[in-house]
């Protein structure tokens, strides 16, 4: 009986308790209970479609046109006569456009080696959490390059195909805690024409990049491409081919991103970073460079 009594008491207690359901907190609890899980996509793994000189996993959204101006000065150690590299600037102009949120096409022209490039970029999967989760963002990038310089040996038979080079990369990036992002860039560069028969036409390289958020508008970036030994034996004007290393910052204001950095690479695309870099950081063969990126929304999403 005693047991029964206490049970009824409990029952009454809970009934009375349930009266308080009308409180605002309980209404909120009801909302939370009704809430359906959503997918939370990670945004802004990097600030720009470029980490520094090479691509990041980021793509322009559908209908967005990006105008890119890349600038690299000469080597800082070139001395006073060249104003520490300012005299020997090289430029790349490029446009990239979002066909969809994930597929971009782009064209560009580098003053360095008078090269045109065309790019297809495809974001395959996005880092996400919530209803569905995936640990990283992955983007495939493929470019074709056409060198339009005069033939170095006009007397011999030259083929148009010798002007063509390619690069393909599978970028894998993850953002940690909204503070730091890392990116892996396994990359292939194929050169139709190489200097010597000892050189590999297809070079394998692995890149590593990182971006650290210092504030909402400021980030510190690093980009490195490692070329495993035994692939390139020829020199570039007497200098050994080296791995490309760049460090810099992103500054963002509204629709512009300014990237300022130091690098030992003179070119502004993967083809030049991998196999076209001969500067030695330790000797001061460092170029100051900047990218300015501006986006224009050409097509507005329908409401």
């Amino acid at each position: 009986m005693k047991n029964l009594k206490s049970r009824s008491f409990l029952f009454l207690f809970f009934t009375l308790f349930s009266l308080s359901i009308y409180g605002q907190d309980d209404l909120m609890a009801l909302l939370n209970e009704k809430e359906e899980p959503t997918i939370n996509y990670t945004i802004a793994t990097f600030k720009s479609t470029r980490l520094i000189s090479g691509h990041s996993v980021e793509t322009n959204s559908k209908g967005v046109l990006q105008f890119l101006i890349g600038h690299r000065f000469g080597r800082i150690n070139s001395g006073w006569k060249d104003l520490y590299g300012v005299d020997n600037a090289t430029i790349r102009l490029g446009f990239e456009y979002g066909l969809t949120d994930n597929i971009n096409i782009g064209i560009g022209r580098s003053g360095f080696e008078k090269t045109f490039d065309g790019t297809l970029k495809w974001k395959l999967i996005r880092q996400q959490s919530g209803a569905k989760s995936f640990p990283f963002t992955s983007t495939f990038v493929s470019s074709i390059y056409m060198n339009t310089m005069d033939w170095p040996y006009p007397e011999r038979e030259n083929y148009f195909s010798s002007r063509i080079n390619y690069h393909h990369a599978l970028l894998i990036a993850r953002k940690f805690d909204d503070v730091i992002s890392f990116q892996l860039m396994p990359t292939l560069v194929h050169r139709n024409l190489v200097q010597s028969s000892k050189d590999e036409n297809t070079i394998y390289s692995i890149g590593l990049g990182s971006s650290l958020k210092l504030s909402g508008s400021l980030r510190f970036n690093m980009e490195y491409y490692y070329i495993p030994e035994g692939q390139i034996f020829s020199t570039l004007g007497g200098e050994k081919v080296r791995n490309s290393l760049s460090v810099g910052v992103d500054l963002e204001t509204g629709g512009h991103v300014f990237q300022l950095f130091l690098t030992n690479s003179r070119g502004m695309a993967e083809k030049f970073l991998i196999g076209g870099t001969s500067g030695n950081w330790l000797d001061g063969d460092i170029h100051f460079g900047f990218n300015v990126s501006r986006v224009f929304t050409l097509k507005k999403p329908k409401k």
């Binding site: 029964l4 009594k5 009824s8 008491f9 029952f11 009454l12 009934t15 009375l16 349930s18 009266l19 359901i21 009308y22 409180g23 605002q24 907190d25 209404l27 909120m28 009801l30 909302l31 939370n32 009704k34 809430e35 959503t38 939370n40 996509y41 945004i43 802004a44 322009n60 959204s61 559908k62 967005v64 949120d101 909204d178 909402g216 508008s217 204001t253 509204g254 629709g255 986006v295 929304t297 507005k300 999403p301 409401k303």
Partner: protein, 183 residues
């Protein structure tokens, strides 16, 4: 013992009679930032809200990431730099309609005052805003409200480079079409 059961039964009965709630999960909240340089507009049409018609309690909840903008980059900046939606994914309001018992809802909008706690960007402030409620059918109520929010109040910082493009005072417009909620 019997008495207790009867008492409990009565109480449960009352609970059910009392618990008249109206719910929406696709309410709309628009906000407008107007400056001479740029007008920015955004909409979130996945706002959930419950109105308890017995006592006038009302709550709202929304996901910051569900706000959509005309420009993709604006949406990214809104989430990443200003509202920090990774850190503060939700915005909520908990409050009640003042002097609720004195109103009788009809098919004409009834002007009301709503007071409560608005949480944005992890900061909670007490606000009092004007709104209206309309009984559009037996099982439907439409709620509307328009008010201003100061970015400073919610610790939302806008860098000086774009301070001319973003208003310090943001106009919020909410439209909720509630339906009677049966458990």
């Amino acid at each position: 013992m019997k008495k207790i059961v009867i008492l409990a039964g009565i109480l449960i009965g009352t609970v059910n009679a009392f618990g008249q709630k109206y719910l929406t999960q696709n309410g709309t909240i628009n906000f407008y930032s107007e400056t001479p340089l740029e007008n920015i507009e955004s909409v979130n049409n996945q706002v959930s809200s419950v109105l308890d018609t017995e006592n006038g309690n009302i709550v709202f909840s929304l996901l910051i990431k569900a706000f959509s903008f005309e420009k993709a980059l604006m949406q990214e900046h809104f989430n990443e730099k200003y509202l920090e939606s990774e850190k503060y994914p939700k915005s909520t309001f908990k409050g009640s309609i003042l002097d609720y018992s004195t109103y009788e809802l009809s098919n004409e909008p009834t002007k009301v005052k709503i007071k409560g706690q608005l949480t944005i960007h992890g900061v909670t402030k007490e606000i009092e805003v004007n709104g209206s409620l309309t009984k559009t059918s037996d099982s439907k109520i439409k709620g509307e409200s328009e008010f201003l929010v100061l970015l400073d109040d919610y610790n939302i910082k806008v860098p000086s480079a774009v301070s001319g493009n973003i208003a310090k005072e943001i106009k919020i417009k909410a439209i909720m079409n509630y339906e009677k909620f049966e458990k």
